[in-house]
């Protein structure tokens, strides 16, 4: 497939925003349920939610560049019964609103316990809103992944690994951002977040490599024989019905050499996983905020490359009809 930068920015930015929110809420849960020393850093939650909301909004903005008629975008919420894209269009604003509400609840200090759990833990409005936002965040992850995962003849995408990778890569980048943010605000969560970020980056790397191994030996279900229905081992295209290319030759091909695609693969493994891991490990014992910040920036560039590769890697069966211009 042709990697469109609007969609690359959309999926990486909202993934990071969702991951950042999950990081904030994980921190709050650990603190509120006394799994670690209690945190009273309201600023961290306010700025974190604001940043997550901003990332999601910029992602939403980027997505409009993919549309031919952005002014009709409101129509996209209508077919949620059948279309994962329509579901994403509902889940994305839902995540933005609930994450913003979560930040606002922290800003307004809605900390009065509404009910008390058996362990004596108070459940306040921020916790409830966080819970709702977590549901919205995961719904958005699943919708985003399923947009690609549900197309059965794009065999590179038609696997649960697609959704898992979207969740893991987004979460990893979000926790890395949380590490940098907590270092910048000088709160004591750098070690906590760096550990989680390392964990998620390693798990994401494992699943991404597993996906690449799966896709390396993929057996295409369609070939020229089934495409034109002529049962012969030696079929060669002579003409594709246009002399200067068409939508079909542009939308479904990445247009780069095999060597270029391969180099992007190595680049993203290094930039999205290995380099950030190095800087995250450094930040375990060093609270200088620029160390995790480098990890954030390098990882984001790596994720852009990862998403580019994700699209370029998928081989659409329609390409069988477009192998030879003339």
């Amino acid at each position: 497939m042709h990697p469109a930068f609007s969609v690359i920015f959309l999926t990486t930015l909202i993934g990071a925003g969702q991951g950042l929110f999950l990081a904030l809420f994980t921190g709050q849960i650990f603190s509120q349920f006394k799994l670690m020393p209690e945190q009273h850093e309201v600023n961290f939650f306010i700025w974190g939610s604001a940043l997550a909301t901003l990332l999601l909004c910029v992602g939403l903005f980027a997505s409009f560049f993919h549309l031919g008629h952005p002014e009709r975008a409101w129509r996209t919420a209508t077919k949620w019964r059948t279309s994962w894209l329509s579901r994403e269009v509902i889940a994305l604003p839902a995540a933005i609103v609930t994450i913003a509400a979560y930040g606002l609840a922290h800003y307004l200090g809605w900390n009065t316990p509404l009910l008390t759990m058996p362990g004596g833990t108070g459940v306040d409005a921020t916790l409830l809103l966080g819970l709702i936002a977590t549901v919205a965040t995961y719904a958005l992850f699943i919708c985003t992944g399923m947009i690609y995962g549900c197309i059965k003849f794009l065999q590179e995408w038609h696997t649960p690994l697609t959704v898992i990778n979207f969740i893991l890569l987004g979460t990893a980048s979000g926790f890395t951002i949380a590490t940098a943010l907590s270092a910048y605000l000088h709160i004591g969560l750098v070690y906590f977040y760096a550990n989680w970020a390392i964990f998620f980056t390693v798990v994401a790397l494992i699943f991404r490599v597993a996906t690449m191994l799966r896709n390396r030996n993929i057996n295409p279900k369609s070939d020229l024989r089934s495409a034109i229905g002529i049962n012969h081992n030696n079929i060669r295209q002579m003409a594709q019905g246009s002399m200067g290319g068409s939508f079909n030759t542009r939308e479904y091909f990445h247009g780069k050499s095999a060597a270029f695609v391969k180099s992007i693969k190595y680049i993203f493994v290094v930039l999205a996983f290995l380099v950030p891991l190095f800087f995250l490990v450094l930040s375990l014992n060093n609270s200088a905020y620029f160390i995790p910040l480098i990890a954030v920036l390098v990882q984001y560039v790596g994720l852009l490359a990862e998403r580019w590769y994700f699209f370029a890697d998928a081989n659409h069966p329609q390409n069988l009809y477009y192998q030879q211009i003339s």
Partner: protein, 244 residues
């Protein structure tokens, strides 16, 4: 339930592109507005077409055969492009099974084109909406046209009658008969899309001529025994008959 479709006979298609040009001519002149043509006289002309003829070479030289393969939307009975549309702009008509795009609802997100394994949908880069074969829905029901012309433009123009049009659910229709009797098949059956359009395969039409059909065995059934006297110069000639 009616399912209108095309049946394309690869045995007689000569790859002349008449269907392509007449399709473009009809559909670019319709109410929906022109189909874009960019750099039509430039180095890399490109544009939106509903129908394209492709050519494939089968076999190894010198045992090769060239197959011309017209390709347009197959109007699948299980169209994978329809449920993915977030706006409902892509839909399959209940009454005749034609898959259409509502150009006023389409947002041009191209997701439906990803969900079509045949590459039958092409975006119009000027109108920025997805376009595809309509089976000339604005022709086939037009009562201003003579009944014989209420067919898609491509079918009308085909000089070898390689394109048949009709209801594939009506087992007595010309298309159903062609599919049934001439081994009609669907493209990429492995995806379960159940294309309504069918293709008829190449057929070898060979006439077996025996030697005795070329060299006449003289009077094999002795039926002309009694006409022996008709040998040249012996019996009555045509002149004798007419000069009575």
């Amino acid at each position: 339930m009616t399912q209108l479709a095309l049946v394309i006979d690869l045995n007689v298609c000569v790859g002349c592109h008449a269907c392509v040009t007449s399709c473009k001519e009809w559909n670019t002149s319709g109410e929906a507005g022109p189909m874009v043509d960019k750099y039509a006289y430039g180095e890399n002309p490109t544009g939106t077409f509903f129908n394209r003829v492709q050519s494939f070479e089968i076999g190894t030289y010198p045992q090769t055969e060239t197959v011309h393969f017209p390709k347009s939307c197959l109007h699948c009975e299980e169209p994978p492009c329809v449920p993915v549309c977030p706006t409902g702009a892509s839909y399959k008509r209940e009454e005749d099974g034609i898959v259409l795009v509502d150009y006023d609802k389409c947002i041009g997100c191209k997701y439906c084109s990803w969900a079509c394994p045949y590459g039958a949908r092409e975006i119009d880069e000027k109108q920025r909406v997805m376009k595809k074969c309509t089976l000339c829905v604005d022709r086939i029901y037009d009562e201003a046209l003579p009944v014989s012309e209420r067919k898609p433009a491509c079918v009308m123009s085909c000089p070898t009658s390689a394109r048949l049009f009709g209801d594939v659910h009506d087992e007595n229709s010309e298309v159903s008969k062609a599919i049934r009797e001439r081994a009609g098949y669907q493209l990429m059956p492995e995806w379960g899309t159940k294309p309504a359009n069918h293709y008829l395969p190449r057929r070898k039409t060979e006439i077996k001529i025996h030697k005795d059909e070329l060299e006449r065995v003289d009077n094999p059934l002795s039926k002309e025994e009694r006409l022996r006297h008709n040998e040249p110069g012996k019996g009555p000639s045509l002149d004798d008959m007419s000069n009575w």
